[in-house]
Symmetry: C2
């Protein structure tokens, strides 16, 4: 059976089987022209959309359907985390080849629904269409954040310290290992990334971060974007960068510049954020309850240069990765 054997209504019914009952604040859910939701009192609303395209963002040869569904939602949740927002509602737009096996469709929905339940975001609606091209999944999400608490990219000043959650490089290394067919203990870091929602929310609530971004396109790209939006430069301490140990081993064998490979590898979905030194104590709650280790990796500078500093001297930060070009 493929999705082309079923009507749109039958496919929507299969999606609904994976969903919990709609919350009370969702006045109208799936099945009408649009969904209707009650906004959260005294909160601003956060909106974002992200797409995964087969062969561009994932390869069905080694990405199980549940991972496709998980990632399609997680990349959006990571954007909410980077704004300090709490997830609310999601819209799913699926463009599917008619030959997509029904079991794969079910797996995608299962992966998305499991991640949604875990992070308390509710599917409010969506769109299903056939496509003669690759499987394309667009997810749009809404979240809520207190007024004047949203974390933006442009708030860093010279002297602010740069912090990173978790470790980097694992997703990019895992993707290379998956492509090469090499068994890998870190495959899950690529397949099932964990959005840092609790950390983002704590940073926002406590006004602990002056700027924040998620690492969808790698650390080097994230540093460049925070610096660009804030009008500062940055010096990153190479020895301080928390590169995942398995990724470090892999890149040491596979890459002429292992550090650059880890810095430019995408799909990590950690948070990079800036902290004013004199308000560093506001980080306490994020450190204790953020659910992920955080590491100081550098500092923002008045000089606009973006530098990687090591015992061997300074070198320019590697360029970021462009999904488009």
């Amino acid at each position: 059976m493929t999705v082309g054997d079923l009507s749109e209504a039958a496919l929507v019914a299969r999606i609904q089987q994976h969903l919990p009952p709609p919350p009370a604040w969702m006045t109208v859910g799936i099945g009408d022209d649009a969904a209707v939701v009650e906004p959260v009192r005294n909160r601003l609303e956060v909106l974002t959309v992200d797409a995964l395209v087969e062969t561009v963002h994932f390869d069905r040869a080694f990405t199980p359907p549940s991972a496709i569904g998980h990632r399609a939602l997680a990349v959006n949740l990571s954007d909410l985390a980077a704004m300090g927002a709490t997830p609310r509602a999601a819209l799913l737009s699926l463009a599917m080849p008619r030959t997509l096996p029904l079991a794969d469709f079910d797996g995608i929905i299962e992966g998305l629904a499991t991640a949604a339940a875990r992070h308390r975001i509710h599917l409010a609606g969506g769109n299903l269409t056939a496509t003669p091209g690759p499987l394309t999944i667009d997810v749009a999400v809404t979240g809520a954040v207190k007024p004047r608490r949203a974390l933006q990219r442009g708030g860093a000043r010279a002297g602010d310290e740069l912090y990173l959650s978790g470790t980097i490089g694992a997703a990019a290394a895992a993707l290379q290992m998956l492509k090469a067919g090499t068994p890998s203990a870190i495959a899950g870091r690529y397949l099932y990334p964990e959005p840092r929602l609790r950390l983002g929310s704590l940073l926002a609530t406590n006004r602990a971060a002056s700027a924040c971004i998620d690492l969808s396109d790698g650390l080097a790209d994230a540093v460049r974007r925070i610096a660009g939006a804030s009008g500062v430069g940055a010096v990153i301490d190479e020895a301080a960068i928390p590169i995942d140990a398995d990724a470090r081993d892999w890149f040491a064998r596979s890459s002429p510049d292992p550090v650059a490979a880890a810095l430019t590898g995408g799909d990590d979905y950690e948070l990079l954020f800036a902290v004013r030194p004199r308000t560093r104590r506001r980080l306490a709650a994020a450190i204790r309850h953020g659910g992920v280790p955080i590491t100081r990796i550098g500092v923002c500078t008045a000089d606009p240069a973006l530098l990687l500093r090591s015992e061997a001297g300074d070198r320019p930060l590697p360029p970021g990765y462009s999904h488009f070009r």
Copy 2:
């Protein structure tokens, strides 16, 4: 020049050139991890998403780029109209072949931005990606509606009268003429459909409609969906159906059953709504200020049958069109 020659940042900058300054309620607009907007006081929020896929929903051979952009937004605005909602914010997710001419990209954005300005909806963010497949445009929109005023599909009761805005068949006939290369006075009805936002808003504000839906998949499909959601049947008066005159001529020559062709042709984006006979006077404002003629075409019945009634007798309503199968 094609879109593949530019970076994502350069393409985003081209989009911003077509946009007005963000409104005051948009605290964070394009360029951060997500947008931040102030909800409307004492309003519920309406959310929907719709996708256009090249070759499935449009053909670049006869659909100019501005029409692609216009339609991608208009189909979503039509869903807001069907809920009685006022447009607020839009998210645009574009998956583009790298070979898409830059002029086409600009045209798509221009068409979308022009429709957005006209209907006062503001682009809050989006996503750009390359695809090895067809041009795929996903637009998600938010709107606002007063509590307990949202128009739903499921509120019709036996005895409620069914009304239709505008005329039907023109978009489907125009699409056939465009495909055939036949010059057509009604090409714009397919290329630049007009969402019935004012009518939807008036129906909601005045509680004039007990149920409402837009005609994206044709009148027969819309009647079927309102009846199904409401648990009623319907009798449609064939002579009363306002079929566009040019479409009627076209279908008389091209189709063995011209009425069925008009009833099942999609892309009209008119509104079908049910009205309780004893509150019919609430329609006054919608008739006077809705911006489009409305016509009574039938009645909801306790008998679950869906019938098309004419002097020749009753026949079953034609089946709807499925975009998917």
